[in-house]
């Protein structure tokens, strides 16, 4: 566990009797907790803004909203808050109700001090264990995601070499490469080989969301910061504390976000949308783009200072067509992967099919290859994948089409599918067998316009 944030655990007391609030506050302060008290449910809900609270002690019987109702409301704001009910007399029925709805325990007034100390420390321990458990699960799944990098070409060896070298440092890394070349995979590999590997790697796709949404994604927001912001939410920079933040499609962010991003990367401090508290976070930045940033800097659409801040150590991932020797390895890898997932005894890709795969230009790179293999595995009849199970256009385009004409064909195909779906991006991307980001990129690249 990290030691750097050893702020005291916090307790919120809600009781309509002043004397109870005062004496419990005093009691818990002497125990070293951060304690505040509220006289009714409304005040308590307001005080949730000053949270998060580890524990709330609620009087079950209060004028206005009861402790039972308040418990539900508090859990809506913070589902992890620990609740202990205080009952004025041993009203077992309502106490049992509270326990059923998730309260940790209840105490009866007057409270036995011995009992109170034990219940509170048990509740706090339980909460800590649950939180640790969630954190550890996330870390394990993150570690699990750092899948192996497949390839034996000279180019990919160079990429791995560079990634390993830079992993041990805290240097900002910029990954360059076309969509689908595996930039996120390399980012995860860098993280998994760094000293930050036991903390999360948080990936953000800056290209797929609007500016205002991206802002709250990155920095989080306070409750009520905008319509629909029902709860306080932590931003990606906050979640990446101790770990790595992976900013994909960095070239696509607006001027305003560029300014904000530069400031956060330089100071490691920010405020949530609609909030005023300055939050510090210790993160490493890995970013990725397939845009020509140098040109973007020249034409003024990308800030020069941010460019220099990000472009410290660049790893360029070559497109698949420039390392065709990796195609058979990758194809075999994906065949094995989907054979296991689908429980299908497809053990090989026949020579004819493999030829087509190797000759194709793979504009969507490894991602496209994986999708093609997944599709082929669905169709394949054991024991082998045949060329007929590859998408039709793949088989035809692999033969004799010029690079120029490929672009023309691709443009026409993208436009046709978009028109067919009424410019429904998700459906078009599905039909085209590419992801949405790639589709957006193609729309921009070919200057396609919604009719």
């Amino acid at each position: 566990m990290t030691e750097k944030k050893s702020s005291p655990q916090s307790i919120l007391i809600v009781d309509d009797e002043l004397i109870v609030r005062e004496s419990l506050t005093k009691w818990f302060r002497q125990d070293g907790y951060r304690v505040e008290a509220a006289e009714d449910a409304n005040h308590a809900l307001k005080m949730m803004k000053e949270g998060p609270w580890d524990l709330a002690l609620l009087d079950i019987k209060m004028p206005g909203m009861s402790g039972l109702e308040l418990q539900k409301r508090l859990k809506e704001v913070d589902k992890n808050i620990g609740i202990i009910m205080i009952t004025a007399f041993a009203s077992v029925e309502s106490a049992v109700q509270a326990l059923k709805e998730g309260a940790f325990d209840y105490v009866t007034k007057p409270i036995d001090p011995d009992h109170l100390s034990h219940i509170v420390s048990n509740a706090l321990n339980q909460k800590k264990i649950v939180e640790e458990n969630i954190q550890l699960r996330e870390q394990i799944s993150d570690i699990g995601k750092a899948t192996e990098i497949v390839g034996d070409s000279q180019q990919i060896h160079k990429v791995i070499e560079l990634a390993k070298t830079v992993a041990k440092t805290d240097t900002t890394v910029m990954l360059r490469g076309e969509s689908g070349t595996g930039k996120e995979l390399i980012a995860r590999a860098i993280h998994a080989n760094s000293d930050r590997r036991y903390f999360p790697i948080i990936a953000v796709n800056c290209g797929a969301v609007t500016e205002s949404l991206l802002e709250s994604e990155l920095f989080g927001h306070e409750k009520g910061a905008f319509t629909g912001a029902q709860y306080r939410r932590k931003g990606k920079f906050e979640l990446a504390d101790g770990g790595t933040i992976f900013l994909d499609e960095i070239g696509n962010i607006s001027q305003k976000m560029q300014v904000q991003l530069l400031r956060v990367i330089e100071t490691k401090q920010f405020t949530r949308v609609g909030g005023s508290d300055v939050i510090s976070s210790d993160f490493r930045v890995i970013c990725a783009t397939n845009r020509d940033l140098e040109a973007a800097v020249k034409d003024g659409s990308f800030r020069e200072d941010l460019y220099y801040r990000l472009n410290v150590f660049t790893v360029s991932i070559p497109p698949l067509r420039e390392r065709r020797s990796d195609i058979p390895l990758l194809a075999e890898y994906f065949r094995g992967k989907y054979a296991a997932i689908m429980h299908k005894a497809v053990t090989e890709i026949n020579a004819n099919a493999m030829d087509i795969l190797v000759q194709y230009d793979w504009p969507g790179n490894v991602r496209e290859l994986e999708n093609v293999l997944e599709r082929a595995m669905v169709l394949a009849v054991p024991p082998a994948i045949q060329s007929s199970e590859l998408p039709f256009q793949l088989a035809s385009k692999a033969h004799g089409l010029q690079a120029d004409s490929l672009a023309v064909v691709e443009r026409a195909q993208v436009e046709m599918i978009l028109n067919r779906t009424g410019w429904n991006i998700s459906r078009s991307a599905d039909i085209l067998d590419i992801d949405r980001v790639t589709l957006y990129n193609k729309i921009t690249k070919y200057g396609l316009k919604r009719p």
Binding site: S23, P110, D112
Partner: protein, 176 residues
């Protein structure tokens, strides 16, 4: 002047208070005296429904009584104390304040049906006096089970902990 004043709250065994003077003085390295002329009568703090005495009221009374006192004040009594929300307290102190009260009631062996043990009871009283006065110097409960500032809500827990401050609490105290 930095000092500690022990105020007897009737009924209380005067000899037990006298026995505290030297060890308390050693623990805090300041002069300790007993209020000899003016006992405090706790009748006003009595709650007939609970048959106990309200410790918060006693603290208020001590503060009213010694407005000019610059050192710490600790009232000690043999009656059982409570704060309204809890069934009982051994004592109560103002965190980083001036006054504390302490009861010998629950530190006695005969309360638990055992033979009186004056030596053990003296050590318990000393530990709790140091503990409550520690609060008035701003010390909070300590996680070190040996430290006198470790929280204890039963006589057994008082026996388990030591009568001295741990390194951290000692440092905090001397740094003042």
């Amino acid at each position: 002047m930095r000092s500690i004043l022990i105020v007897p709250i009737r009924p209380v065994d005067h000899a037990e208070l006298t026995a505290l003077v030297t060890p308390l003085s050693n623990a805090f390295e300041i002069p300790v005296s007993i209020e000899e002329s003016n006992y405090l009568d706790p009748a006003f703090a009595f709650d007939s429904y609970r048959n106990q005495f309200n410790s918060t009221s006693l603290i208020t009374a001590l503060l009213d009584r010694y407005p000019a006192q610059s050192g710490k004040i600790i009232g000690i009594t043999a009656v059982d104390l409570f704060v309204p929300v809890l069934t009982y307290v051994f004592g109560e102190a103002q965190l980083d304040g001036q006054a504390a009260v302490l009861s010998t009631f629950r530190l006695r062996e005969d309360l638990y049906g055992l033979e009186p043990n004056p030596k053990l009871e003296h050590i318990r009283l000393l530990k709790e006096a140091v503990h409550e006065l520690g609060h008035t110097y701003g010390l909070i409960h300590c996680h070190d089970p040996e430290c006198v500032m470790h929280s204890s809500t039963s006589a057994e827990e008082v026996d388990v902990k030591g009568k001295n401050f741990c390194g951290g609490c000692e440092k905090f105290l001397r740094g003042l």
